[in-house]
Symmetry: C2
Subunit: 242 residues, 2 copies
Amino acid sequence: MLFFTQCFGAVLDLIHLRFQHYKAKRVFSAAGQLVCVVNPTHSLKYAPTRCAAAQASTEQGILPPCHHHEAVHDPQLVPCTCPLFSCPWEGHLEVVVSHLRQTHRINILQGAEIVFLATDMHLPAPTDWIIMHSCLGHQFLLVLRKQEKYEGHPQFFATMMLIGTPTQANNFTYRLELNRNQRRLKWEATPRSVLERVDSVISDGDCLVLNTSLAQLFADNGSLAIGIAITTSKVHNSEAEM
Amino acid sequence: MLFFTQCFGAVLDLIHLRFQHYKAKRVFSAAGQLVCVVNPTHSLKYAPTRCAAAQASTEQGILPPCHHHEAVHDPQLVPCTCPLFSCPWEGHLEVVVSHLRQTHRINILQGAEIVFLATDMHLPAPTDWIIMHSCLGHQFLLVLRKQEKYEGHPQFFATMMLIGTPTQANNFTYRLELNRNQRRLKWEATPRSVLERVDSVISDGDCLVLNTSLAQLFADNGSLAIGIAITTSKVHNSEAEM
C-alpha cells in the first residue's frame, strides 16, 4: 500500500514538473532561450527530513553517502559548496562538480544564456534553488536563497559562483535579469569563487537582493524567472582599477 | 560673534559643496553627463530642527510659510509630495512644481540623462535626497530615501515619480543605474504619479531597494552616484492597459 502511495506521489510530481516546464517554455519560447525549471530545496535546517524525502522519491532509493574527511587547511581543498544538505564533504576543486551531481543530484545546463525558473517562491525560509551552468569552458553554480536576515522578513538572494579559483573567476562577468510587469531589474558582477563560500557572499550582501514584495512583483503564479548570461570580462579590467 | 560663526559655517558648506561637485564632474566627465550633487535632508521626524537650521543658513533668512488648507477630496488636489518637511500644503498638480521650488528649495535639472550624486550616505535614517528633473516636457521627482523598514536595519529606496496624473505617467519609462567596483545594478520601471504618494511606493517596495552593505559597495567616499534616464514608452502601452 505504502509502495503504491509513493508511486502515486512520484507521478504527481512528474505531472507538476512537466506543467511548470511547459509554462516556462511558452513564456520564453520567443527569446529562444533554454529554460530550466528549478524546484526548491530546504536549506541546512531541514536537512534530515529533506534527505529522507529525497531518498524515498529517487529512482535508486538511496543517496550515495558523503565522504567524511578531517578538516585540513589545504587552500585547494574546498568544503562542499552546495547548501542543499549539511554536507561535511571536502574535496579538491576538480571533483566538486562530480560531487554536486552525484551526491546532491544538481542538474547541469549548457549554454551562454539560460532562464532559471524557480518554482514555489512562497515556501518558508530557508529555501534554496540551485543549478549548475556549464559555459565558456567552466562550470558555474547559481544559488537563489530565501533567507531571513532580519527575523520575520525573508529576502531573496541570488548569486553566481565559479567552480574555480578567484583568479579564474575574475575573467568572467555574469548577469541576472528579472523582467515582468513593466519592470526590469539587472545585476551584473564578477562571479565569486566557490572557495569564498556562498554563505559569506550572501551575508556580505554582495549579490542580487530582493525583498519579498519586489519578488512578488516579478513572480508569475508563484514562480520567479531569472535570465542568466555569462561573458568573459575585458582582459585589463581588473588591472585598470588597481 | 554669532554672525561670524554662521558666516564661517556657510563658507565651509560652500567649500564642501564645491569639492563634491568637482569630484563628481571628474568621475562622470567621460560620459558627458550633467552631474547634480544632492545633499541629504532629514525626513519628517526632524522637521522642526531642519527647518530652523535651513532658515539660519539661507540667503533670505526666512522660508516662505506653507499654505494651510482644509482636506478636501478633489482628486486633482494633491497633498505636498515632498517628504522634506512635514508640510500640510495641498494644491492642484499644476502648482506642485512651484510649491516644491519656492517652499522647499528643491533644485530642478534639465536633460534626458543626468547623474544624481547623493552625499553623506552614512547619515542615520530617516534621510531623503530629492531632486526635480525636467525632461520630455514634464517634471519628475527623484527621491532617494534611507529608512528603517525593519528596526535597526536601514535600507535605501529610490524611485522616480511624475508630477502629473497616472495616465500621463504610463507614457514614460525611467531607469536608475549604479555602476562601480565591477558591479552594475539597473532598475527600469514606469514612473508612478505623485498622486500615488512616495510613502506608498516605498512601503510597497515597488522601487530600487538597496541594503546598506550593497549601497556601500556602490558608494565612493560616502557618496552614491545614480545615473538617471527617462524615455517615452511605446505609444500604445497606456491605451492597451486602459
